[in-house]
Symmetry: C3
Subunit: 459 residues, 3 copies
Amino acid sequence: LAAGVRARLDTNSLNPDRYFDPDPAIRRVARALYEETRELPIVSPHGHVDPRILSVNAPFPEPASLIVQPDHYILRLLYANGVPLEALLEGDPRGIWLLFAKNYHLFSGTPSGGWLEYELFEVLGVRDSVSGETATRIYDEIVEKLKSPEFRPRALFERFNIEVLATTDAATDSLAHHEAIRKSGWKGRVIPTFRPDALFKISSPEFDALGARDYTSFLRAIADRRAYFKHLGATATDHGVLEPYTSLLPEEEAERLFQRARRGEATPEDERRFTAHLLMEMARLSLADGLVMQIHAGALRDHNHAVFERFGPHMGGDIPVATEFTRNLLPLLNAYGNDSRFTLVLFTLDESTYSRELAPLAGHYPAVRLGPPWWFHDSMEGMRRFRERTTETASIYKTAGFNDDTRAFCSIPARHDLARRMDANYLGGLVARHVINESDARRMARALAYELVKKTYRL
Amino acid sequence: LAAGVRARLDTNSLNPDRYFDPDPAIRRVARALYEETRELPIVSPHGHVDPRILSVNAPFPEPASLIVQPDHYILRLLYANGVPLEALLEGDPRGIWLLFAKNYHLFSGTPSGGWLEYELFEVLGVRDSVSGETATRIYDEIVEKLKSPEFRPRALFERFNIEVLATTDAATDSLAHHEAIRKSGWKGRVIPTFRPDALFKISSPEFDALGARDYTSFLRAIADRRAYFKHLGATATDHGVLEPYTSLLPEEEAERLFQRARRGEATPEDERRFTAHLLMEMARLSLADGLVMQIHAGALRDHNHAVFERFGPHMGGDIPVATEFTRNLLPLLNAYGNDSRFTLVLFTLDESTYSRELAPLAGHYPAVRLGPPWWFHDSMEGMRRFRERTTETASIYKTAGFNDDTRAFCSIPARHDLARRMDANYLGGLVARHVINESDARRMARALAYELVKKTYRL
Amino acid sequence: LAAGVRARLDTNSLNPDRYFDPDPAIRRVARALYEETRELPIVSPHGHVDPRILSVNAPFPEPASLIVQPDHYILRLLYANGVPLEALLEGDPRGIWLLFAKNYHLFSGTPSGGWLEYELFEVLGVRDSVSGETATRIYDEIVEKLKSPEFRPRALFERFNIEVLATTDAATDSLAHHEAIRKSGWKGRVIPTFRPDALFKISSPEFDALGARDYTSFLRAIADRRAYFKHLGATATDHGVLEPYTSLLPEEEAERLFQRARRGEATPEDERRFTAHLLMEMARLSLADGLVMQIHAGALRDHNHAVFERFGPHMGGDIPVATEFTRNLLPLLNAYGNDSRFTLVLFTLDESTYSRELAPLAGHYPAVRLGPPWWFHDSMEGMRRFRERTTETASIYKTAGFNDDTRAFCSIPARHDLARRMDANYLGGLVARHVINESDARRMARALAYELVKKTYRL
């Protein structure tokens, strides 16, 4: 055996039992349940892949821009360990790849480590282990592969067995790439998601009034944009907020805040109240147009000002804060939560809310579904904690299946694979403890891998 | 074998090893420890069974009103999945049972699922698996059984091997059913618990001044009611509060708030301060009359106003909030916490407080005991988390044994069984890791199942 | 076999596999990894051993003052279970030891229980199990042993294989014992740590202005004291704060607060702001003089006023509070967190911050390292939770190795042994789940036991 192959075998990187508990009683069932779901199509209802990739369908040029640069999980951990961001974002691709390879051990035991192994071994067919020594050889090997047609984005999309891929798009996006994909005749289903964050940020230079002169026209413009997104296949909206505060304002007050926003005079407290009000309005519009409403709450964006100013957003400098759902969502849920025609999917970065607030809310209000473990918690232990802390109160049936939430296209199958494994393992643990039987477990595994996401997102 | 029996065997619903970790080293010890405690009498120091059931001792009419309707865990999850509460509370019993049976899969992996299996199989002797197909047959079977004398409430009480059952009663309750039980000559020990929540709610229409005209008489009336409860066997009080805030007011200020309450002018902030003050007074009275003081903190009651207005409380619409104990209890613990004659049992719905606040408080103040995992956390994983997060700091000896806390009479033995299994499993894990030896573990298992609850509640 | 030996064997107290998961796949690897680290020297960069012990090197007189009295973990749990502190702190040593022995079962399942077994069996060679019956015999046996030269502090230090021991010292400490140790010619490396808490407490009688008349001289005096500590080997400072709030004040405002402090007029809110400012200044000085900065946040000290007034601090009456890092550290990390030459080690008592705030901060800012699980969480389950909740986001490489943080000299090797076992077990679990391979695991185990602490603390 060549040294590289030996190293790879050593790493067990793609051991068929990876992530499963070693207990034989659990592992036996986990394997069987995973077999039940592993060939199911991928439904990806929330993520950040650039639709341009699939519209243009150009070959990926080389591994640094394919694997390292679009992945803030990777950038973040390298930066935290002393690698300058300049070197990762502005160097020549081959140098970037070498730097990444030399620091590859930093990913041991992190989800990025597992995703990378999957991407390299399974997606790109690399058999060497990544290290400073093998970096150049692997780089060249990948460059070579990327030239062939089966590594084009659409070919990979098909090989990944993606049934639907939702992107995340600004309210003002032209959706030209989505339109181009539709018109191209390619059968891949790529749909937009309406993410109007800039419309909420009335105290920020990012604020976009959609050209409206008054609040009523502003709301109408929002409804129009929603309709356009829906026309291009969108089934959901998404709202990134610091806190999930909701509260309806009197119409005059909403108008007053909107006018302050237009004059550039709105304060952060104005923005907080306007956001709370607009979330109520978004729920109302969702009930009207049927778009599923997602709230991603609790990230303090751009905590590191120097990194933000130099390199922009999504460089790993967003840090979570404690998040309150019970009181904050009371107005919205009292207004719309009892209506089964409305669906609200909640995401948190504060795991203490899983059992305390989120599972009780989803375990009571017909409209509420729990989004899967998000971002820092989209990992082996994070998924375990999510299931252990939400299932007993909310049941698996009030969870929304899996979201890969990724910017890194090649990590999509890696992430779904981990999720299916962890759900199989969780259910295997319940079977081994005689809490459920194997036939329940099979039914639940399929629901978690495929059915719940389709039902939740109306796909 | 009949299809029903086969299905039941398939489900392993009453597998003798249910809930135990599958690891053979843990399971062996867990089994032995569970055997040590499984025949011990049930001591139920906190729950919500209606004493009328045991006073009147009438046959239970049919399964919907016995199993479905009094159980807000069941109502909640059905409602959350789109079943209208009207259909569950107001339909004809047979239809309700069918609706429940058709949705039975929703309880897979939840504690209700396990309790239901126990109630049906062990208490009611049902051998069929519940489903839409078997619903009617099971309904009829249960109706038939409930007619026979051994399914009368007192007969079940004896079969469940209940040594003491404490109910929860309003301060103004006549306790007529408790008196009737005493006078009936029946040997079952059913005792009241003094729960004066309505006396604290001075900003609410529920407020009850016990007919007092001033604060001093009010306090005297409270002491009188406590004495009456004690006379009928009570050994404890219980206080449901949003936050466990404690703070002694000057006498004049307490009087002032009391007068505002009588005039219907008290504000929520008045109520917050009056509650904080009354908790101090309750501790003082407990030191005097020996009643154990319980605080259940952290539920935001009736979050869903529409459900509350239509169906009243306890329909699953109470949602927990983050709860602070360290600062809130400082005044009370400084005043009474060092006195071993006083016992304060603390319950939380905020699991983040287990290791951060509650275990350190119980691991220091002689008066503090930790109540078992409550409500949403009275489950396999909830119990595991409770032991893992409190034992190392507080030891098992500062915990209060188990409370079933149930309104559903037939779920009592199911809930105690789960608790004994989970404690056996926890201790089995410590033995398998060589943290304690088997003889320690046996001693600890008996303490957790029987001795600590009797000691804590002075039973 | 003598009864005592039999009892000891029964207890499995020093079973070679203690603390390891019983699963054979995990245990096999955990054993191998533990073997890899168990002989490595102890590096103890943060603790509370009195340097006088090693400077004077007098024999320890007897077991009560060696084992019971300096250990607030032990005092706390005995007190919580009704043993008066008077009896533990003021009685005759033999009586204290008897009281401790009679209550020895209270420590079952707590980390103190495990540390005590190690100290007695491994350090002191006691083969009896501790109980009321064996108490006197064990007491006499230990007294006898302590007379021999190999039980003198320095001999134990060497036997424990301690490479460096850092103490914690007030800013105004003369460091006479540290100087004496250096001059004694003994080769043991004992170094001070600069802990200037009293300089921050401007609203308290403890406040020490270092004799300065203005803020500028005060800062200069602090820098001088830091230099003196560094001269005697210190490589770190440490700051105990209720909240990790940081915020730079204008120079004039710092001066104004300093003058209010000198006049005894500073309020708690002044102290909060002055502390926030001084933390910024400490970071700036750390960047200048290279001392690693530690923050221990979140203990509400002396919660139990009666115990504090009667017995002073460190008697078990400190209780944690919820702690916020993301917003509180924003100013400090924006000013210094991107500089790799600066090291900030963060400790928390609020485990909900591990995955929510601390791992994301350490997983992004080059300067941040996570301190090991602290105090109440320095335990089998506490260590498990720490690794499970921080590794996936921050990697093990942004954690600081182990701190024993102890006042009880003989517990040092016991605590490091537990930490090495738990890290071996955690990594063994990753290997058994095929997340990492055994060679990664060996490298990581050595890093956790030895390399990371030396690197973090510049030892």
